[in-house]
């Protein structure tokens, strides 16, 4: 047993020596996210994206003439592990970090990176507070925050549909209720629209005819619903059954083929927000093709965002001419970079400009983008 411990510690010593030996002349890109456990499918695509980007950039001569080295750490999406992960990456000397994946883990880790003055970019943490509180000037993300959908839905209802009375419903879940609460907040702030109803409905309940009647009584011109497609299809079907002409506006959880299939004709005319159509972005197709050539499968969730984050971080170092914190964050905020999620730069809070959602309308059984 003692022998084994000695062997193990000498191996560890050797490995750390080896790591330090190569450390001097590389740019270190930390990658943190769930790479094991049940949430691994959300973390592995971004990790693979980083590997693809680094491979490509190193083959082309690296960044500032140096090779890029990946430091990959697993956080299992758990906040308590994420702090260890962050400390490890800081000690290992990461220059920039791509991650974390889950909002909770990201929030736990951000303070550590902030103290160490390391720019962090998440491909997937959508919690609005991460950027909006201003607590983390080192944080950036290549995905739109949760409240942007609500903002879009509200702007659309006010400016395009010109409604005056709106009912807001949600399914009492984190996602749906979050969307609905933001929508109500923005509606109230606009001062142009009256929120006549704000209520939660029970998902899976047998019917929603009472609430549909209530929407009618309140004379709402539009119904904004936060939730997923099963409840949304039930709502639009029952509204059609009750001859209710109220406009239906909902979120990304409803922008699903099942909604069209289940609600059928009743879905026609419904508005839903959804991610921008990336199929026309040239780099997007290229990144997916690269992934397919390497792994022979379709990339999973947050692959494009991860790919974009890796590109944006390394591009910022190149533009800044060094790995200096102020220079890099300044480059992220001022220089546009061509990525699979579009041509982006980051605003003062760290949200990517030009990344986000579009409004879709159901027409003849398909989602059509509203220009």
């Amino acid at each position: 047993m003692k022998k084994f411990t000695v062997l193990l510690s000498s191996m560890a010593l050797f490995l750390s020596l080896a790591a330090n030996g190569f450390a001097a002349d590389t740019i270190k890109l930390g990658v943190a996210g769930p790479h094991s456990g049940d949430l691994a499918p959300y973390g592995i695509p971004a990790m693979k994206a980083a590997q693809l980007v680094v491979k490509k950039i190193n083959a082309a001569g690296g960044v500032l003439g140096k090779q890029v080295e990946l430091l990959i750490q697993d956080d299992q999406c758990k906040p308590e592990i994420a702090t260890n992960t962050a400390t490890k990456l800081v000690t290992d000397g990461a220059d920039v970090v791509l991650g974390h994946i889950c909002s909770g883990a990201t929030k736990a880790a951000l303070g550590i990176y902030n103290d160490a003055r390391i720019p962090v970019m998440s491909p997937s943490a959508t919690n609005p507070g991460l950027t909006q509180t201003g607590d983390y000037p080192n944080f950036f993300r290549t995905i739109a925050s949760d409240d942007m959908q609500a903002q879009l839905a509200v702007d659309f209802a006010i400016n395009n549909l010109k409604v005056k009375k709106v009912a807001v419903l949600h399914d009492k879940g984190d996602y749906g209720k979050g969307f609905a609460e933001f929508a109500k907040k923005y509606l109230d702030e606009s001062g142009k629209v009256e929120v006549v109803l704000f209520e939660g409905i029970t998902p899976g309940a047998m019917d929603y005819s009472s609430i549909v009647q209530k929407v009618r009584r309140e004379k709402a011109e539009a119904l904004i619903f936060g939730g997923y497609h099963p409840e949304a299809s039930k709502l639009v079907s029952q509204m059609a059954r009750k001859r209710l002409k109220t406009l239906f506006i909902s979120d990304d959880g409803v922008k699903d083929a099942s909604f069209l299939k289940v609600a059928g004709a009743a879905a026609d005319g419904a508005y839903v927000t959804g991610p921008l159509d990336l199929s026309k972005v040239p780099l997007n197709a290229a990144a997916i093709a690269e992934f397919k050539a390497e792994y022979g499968a379709d990339p999973g969730a947050f692959f494009q965002e991860g790919y974009s984050a890796a590109l944006a971080l390394l591009n910022a170092i190149e533009q800044a001419g060094s790995t200096d914190y102020d220079a890099v964050t300044n480059a992220l905020r001022t220089k546009y970079v061509e990525t699979p999620v579009g041509n982006v730069k980051f605003d003062s809070k760290g949200d990517a400009e030009g990344v986000g959602f579009a409004m879709y309308k159901v027409e003849n059984g398909a989602f059509a983008e509203v220009k």
């Binding site: 029970t202 047998m206 019917d207 005819s209 209530k214 059954r241 299939k261 289940v262």
Partner: protein
Amino acid sequence: MEYFIELFLSGLTRGSIYALIALGYTMVYGIIQLINFAHGEIYMIGAFVALIVAGVCTIYGFAGVSVLIIAAIAAVIYASAYGYTLEKIAYRPLRGAPRLSPLISAIGMSIFLQNYVLLAQTSDFLPFPRLIPDFEFMEPVAHIIGSPELVILVTTVVTMILLTLLIKKTKVGKAMRATQQDMSMARLVGINVDRIISLTFVIGSALAAIGGVLVASYIGQVNFYIGFLAGVKAFTAAVLGGIGSIPGAVLGGLVLGLTESFAAGYVSSDYEDVFAFGLLVLILILRPAGILGKARKQKV
């Protein structure tokens, strides 16, 4: 006033479906004191069978109400067969075992049937055809009560009248009542108790299947999980009305449906379930055996 009527009718519709399913719980409980947790799954299977049969019928060119009737008959037959088999394999071998054993067996069957449908069909929500057409004469009042609600109400009333006649007027009904009162005595006077129990399961399942078909064509979607929530609500209705009592199940269903509808309409749909279950607690405090239930004397 119109709003009140709308809510009343909506609650009545919902309540009559609860009542249809609650009857199955209460009849089985009345005879063998078993809470058949798999009953909600029978309701779900009824809806799925109707979906498949309706699909086939449409291919063969049937249209309108005829599809509904054929699908409903198929669902009733199929669900009854399920109920019969369920009793035979999961409950009959446990007759005479401690009361907890068949209860656990029932939970097991519920999980089994859910996952069976999940694997055999899909985990997705499936569109259910609008089998109940919009009647021409209903159009002026369609915003208050639609054709599906009308069909649901009429069907439930007719079904319940038939059930009452069966239990009160026929020989089989008499045997069922005798078995409910005293199983060993019924056996002594020559009633085939096992057959009566099977029959109870068959009738309960048939009612659940009717409920399943009606609800599915009303809300237009089915899923392997719909039986669970409907089962919980119907079970609540049965307890509310007094489990073991047939008029109690009907009353419990209607009271529950109306409470939910009025709570959603006048207070907030956030509190729909709070009111429904709050009412249950209140009634059980005042009348522990339920509204129409009779407290059984326990001989110790």
